[in-house]
Amino acid sequence: MTCAEAADGIPPAGGPQDASGAPPETADQGASAGTSGGRLDLTRFTAARVAVGLTGVSLPTAAHLAFLADHAMARDAVHLPVDVPGLLQELAGAGLPCLPLRSRVRDRREYLLRPDLGRRLDQESAAMVVRAAHEAGLGRGERPDLALVVADGLSAPAVMRQAAPFLREFVPRCRSRGVRLAVGSYVSLGRVAVADEIGELCRARATAILIGERPGLTSPDSLGVYLTFGPKVGNTDERRNCISNIRPEGLPFAEAAATLDHLLHLALARGLTGVMLKDDRPLAVGNAAASVPGVAAGRGERRGEGVS
C-alpha cells in the first residue's frame, strides 16, 4: 500500500517535473516528462514506481520522499508490537478463541537473528497446548482435522488487520464441511514452523498458520497462510502450501478462504501437502498464487522465506 499522503504529493506522470519549483532548463530536465511515459500514463498499468520523473539523472524530491515514507511504514510494520489482548478478542469474535502462546524468542532483535528459536514454543506454552488438547479430547479420543494458528511473523499490522476478517470467511467454511477444529493459538514472535509443534502436541491432522509476511514497500500489511499436513517438528517448507499476499489490495479474504478451504479438503483427502498438492482449479479461480515455499527456483518462489 503506497502512502496516500505521499502519493498525493507526486506530480502526475507526464506533468511538469518541477515539484521543486525549478523550471526545466536542460534537455534532460525536459526528458524527464517524456520518460515518464508522455501522455500515456504508465502508472495506470502497474503499482511499480514507473514514470516517477527525473531531475538530471536522479529522483525528483517528491518521489524520493514518497519512497522514504513507504520504507518507514514497512520498517515500522516489522518492529511494531501486536496488541495481543485486542487481537485475541477479535479472533474470538471471528470464531477462533486462541491460547496466548510464545515462542522461545525473547525480543524482536533475537527474532530476526534466530529463526530457529521462533520455530519452537517456550515450555509454558507447550504445556498449555497439551492441557488444552487433553481437555478438548477428553473421553472422545478424536483427532482434530485442523489446528489454526495465528502469529505476528514479520508484520504486526498484517496480523492485526487481516487475520480476523480472513477467519470470518474461513471458519464458517470449516463448520459447513464438518472440519474438526483444534483449539486456536496465537504465538508471539512465531515463525511458520511453530505450527508444526502445536499441531503435533494437539495431534491435529493438519495445521494452517496465519502469519504476517515480510513487508514490502507497497504491501506492509500482507498476510500469508501456510498449510501443512502431518505437522511434526522438523518439517521443511517443501511440505507446505502457501497462500500469499492476503489483504484487501491483494488477494481478497473470500478468495483466500476459498483457496485454503479447497487445499485443506484435498490435503485431508490425499493425506499430503507440498509439492505434490496442486491447486487444480481453473486458472481464473485458482489465481490465488498458492505456491510451495522453499522449492527455490528463482527468487519468485522465495517470497515467504523471510518468515519461514
Binding site: A27, D28, A31, A33, G34, T35, G37, G38, L40, L42, T43, R44, F45, T46, A47, A48, R49, V50, A51, V52, L54, V57, S58, L59, A63, F67, D70, H71, A74, R75, A77, V78, L112, L113, R114, P115, D116, L154, E213, R214, P215, G216, L217, T218, S219, S222, N245, G250, N287, A289, S291, V295, A296, A297, G298, R299, G300, R303, E305, G306
Partner: protein, 460 residues
C-alpha cells in the same frame, strides 16, 4: 602449527574449515551456524594463522570430502595446475601481497583464474580490507556475450527487472518501457515470475521475445524459473535466450534447489542448440547469495562466504553470460545490516571476478534488515569502482513482487554518470538509434508518439 597468541591468549585452529570461518569478518549467518569467532581477538588470530597457510592446503585438504560432494570433485578435477604455477608456492598472505602488487595486472590475473580454487580466493578475501578487494577487482575485466557484451572495461550494464505480483503483461511492459527509456536492460530483461507454471512462463517468454524483435533491441530475455521448466520449454520450441538457475556451493544445497551439475550441463547444451546469440554464445544465468547453504542445512560446517565462492566455482564451469549475488535478499539472519551487506557484496564481486566470471550484483536489502537506501548507495558506488559487470534496474528501486529493494533505473544512471562508464556498446548504439539517449549519453524526452509507447496501447 595452526595456533596464534594474541594478548596473552593462545588460539588454536585445528581444522581448515573452522579457521576460514573464524577469520571471516563478523556476519549473522556464521553466528547462527555456530561457526563464527567468539571474540575479535580470536578473529584476528585466525587471520594471522590463515595468512601463513599455503595456498596448496586448499587442494590437499578439501573442506568437504570429494566422496560426498560433486562440487568439490568439480573444483579438484578442473583445477589448472599450469595456470596455478606462478602462485603455487605462496601462502595466503603472500598471495594478498602479490594481488595488490603491480605484477598482478589484468593479463596476469586473467591467466591465473583457472588455476585458482574458490577456497583460495575466499581465504585471501578474508584478510583483505574493502579497498584491497576493490583495487584487485578493478584490475580484472571478464567478458561474456550473447546479443550484448557484458563485463567490458568502462561499461556498466543492468538487468531490467520488471516484476509484477500477478505477472500482468501490461504491468510488466509498463516497467520495461520505463526501464528502456532510462537506459536499463543491456544485461538482460529478466522477469521473476509470480507463478511458475510452464504455461505462464511461455506466455512471458513469448511476450519478451516479441518486444525484443519488434524494436530490434540488442539484448537477451529471461524468465527466472527452475532449470527443469526451462529445459522442457526449450524442447517445446519456446524462445529461450538464457537458462536461469539459483545455485550454491555444495552438492546438498544444489540438491535442495532441485539441480545438479549434469542437469545444468544438459540445460546449457539445449540452449546452445538454439543458436540465438549474435555476438557470443554464453547462455547461462546464475544467481547466488551467501547463506543459501545454511538455509538448506547443507553447509558442512563451512562459512557462508567460502561456500559462496564455491558457487562461483560451479558457475564458471558453464560459461555463463550473467552471474550475480543477490546479496541482501536472504535476510538479517544471514547478513543483518548495511555493514554486513556491503562487506559481503564486495567479497562476492571480488571472488567472482578473480575466478574469471563476468560478475554482477543485486545491490539489495529487505525491510527486516537494518539497512536503507544510503547503504545501497555506498555499495553501488563501491561496486562500480570495483568494476562490477552489471547491477539490477527495478522501477523506483521497489520490487513489488519480491517485496525487497534493489537498485533503480535512476541508480544505474547515477552510477554511470558519477563513474564515467557507459552501457554495453551494442545497447548504447540502440539507445541512440531509438532516440532515447542523446549523443552525450543522457536520457532524452520520449515524445508521446514514440513507438515504444505503442506497446501497452496494443495490449489494452
Amino acid at each position: 602449527m595452526r595456533s596464534c597468541t594474541i594478548g596473552g591468549t593462545s588460539y588454536r585452529f585445528p581444522e581448515l574449515a573452522g579457521l576460514l570461518a573464524k577469520a571471516t569478518p563478523h556476519r549473522s549467518g556464521d553466528a547462527l551456524a555456530g561457526l563464527a569467532a567468539d571474540s575479535e581477538a580470536e578473529r584476528v588470530a585466525a587471520r594471522f594463522v590463515l595468512a601463513d597457510a599455503p595456498l596448496t592446503a586448499f587442494l590437499d585438504e578439501p573442506l568437504i570430502p570429494p566422496e560426498i560432494d560433486e562440487v568439490t570433485r568439480l573444483i579438484l578435477e578442473t583445477h589448472d595446475k599450469a595456470a596455478f604455477a606462478p602462485v603455487s608456492g605462496m601462502s595466503v598472505g603472500q598471495f594478498r601481497d602479490w594481488l595488490l602488487s603491480d605484477a598482478a595486472d589484468g593479463a596476469a590475473l586473467a591467466a591465473l583464474a583457472p588455476g585458482l580454487a574458490p577456497e583460495m580466493v575466499a581465504a585471501v578475501s578474508k584478510i583483505m580490507r574493502h579497498q584491497d578487494l576493490i583495487l584487485v577487482a578493478a584490475k580484472i575485466s571478464n567478458t561474456a556475450a550473447l546479443r550484448t557484451t557484458i563485463g567490458l572495461p568502462g561499461r556498466l550494464c543492468s538487468r531490467l527487472q520488471p516484476n509484477h505480483p500477478t505477472d500482468d503483461p501490461r504491468g510488466i511492459l509498463a516497467a520495461v518501457i520505463d526501464g528502456l527509456a532510462l537506459g536499463s536492460g543491456d544485461a538482460c530483461i529478466g522477469i521473476n515470475p509470480a507463478t511458475d507454471s510452464p504455461a505462464n512462463v511461455v506466455r512471458l517468454l513469448t511476450m519478451l521475445d516479441e518486444l525484443r524483435q519488434r524494436y530490434a533491441i540488442p539484448t537477451q530475455s529471461c524468465v527466472l524459473t527452475h532449470v527443469t521448466t526451462t529445459l522442457d520449454l526449450v524442447r517445446r520450441g519456446a524462445p529461450v535466450d538464457l537458462v536461469f538457475q539459483s545455485i550454491g556451493g555444495t552438492e546438498a544445497v544444489n540438491s535442495s534447489f532441485g539441480v545438479n551439475l549434469a542437469l545444468l550441463a544438459e540445460a546449457r547444451e539445449a540452449a546452445l542448440s538454439l543458436h540465438r546469440g549474435t555476438v557470443g554464445q554464453s547462455v547461462m544465468y546464475f544467481e547466488t547469495g551467501q547463506g543459501s547453504a545454511l538455509s538448506a542445512n547443507a553447509h558442512h560446517g563451512v562459512d557462508q562466504q567460502t561456500l559462496e565462492a564455491r558457487a562461483y566455482g560451479v558457475a564458471r564451469a558453464f560459461d555463463p553470460l550473467l552471474v550475480n549475488t543477490v546479496v541482501g535478499f536472504i535476510g538479517p539472519e544471514y547478513l543483518s545490516d548495511g555493514r554486513q551487506i556491503i562487506r559481503a557484496g564486495l567479497e562476492d564481486v571480488f571472488c567472482g571476478k578473480l575466478l574469471g566470471l563476468p560478475m554482477g550484483a543485486d545491490v539489495c536489502y529487505t525491510n527486516h534488515a537494518e539497512a536503507d537506501q544510503d547503504d545501497m548507495d555506498v555499495l553501488l558506488t563501491l561496486l562500480g569502482v570495483a568494476g562490477c559487470a552489471y547491477v539490477i534496474g527495478v522501477p523506483g528501486a521497489d520490487d513489488i513482487m519480491l517485496n525487497y529493494q534493489s537498485t533503480s533505473f535512476h541508480d544505474v544512471l547515477y552510477a554511470r554518470r558519477v563513474l564515467g562508464v557507459r552501457p554495453a556498446p551494442e545497447f548504447e548504439a540502440w539507445l541512440a538509434a531509438m532516440g532515447l539517449f542523446d549523443d552525450r549519453g543522457r536520457p532524452r524526452a520520449v515524445d508521446p508518439g514514440h513507438p515504444l509507447l505503442e506497446l501497452p496501447r496494443d495490449l489494452r
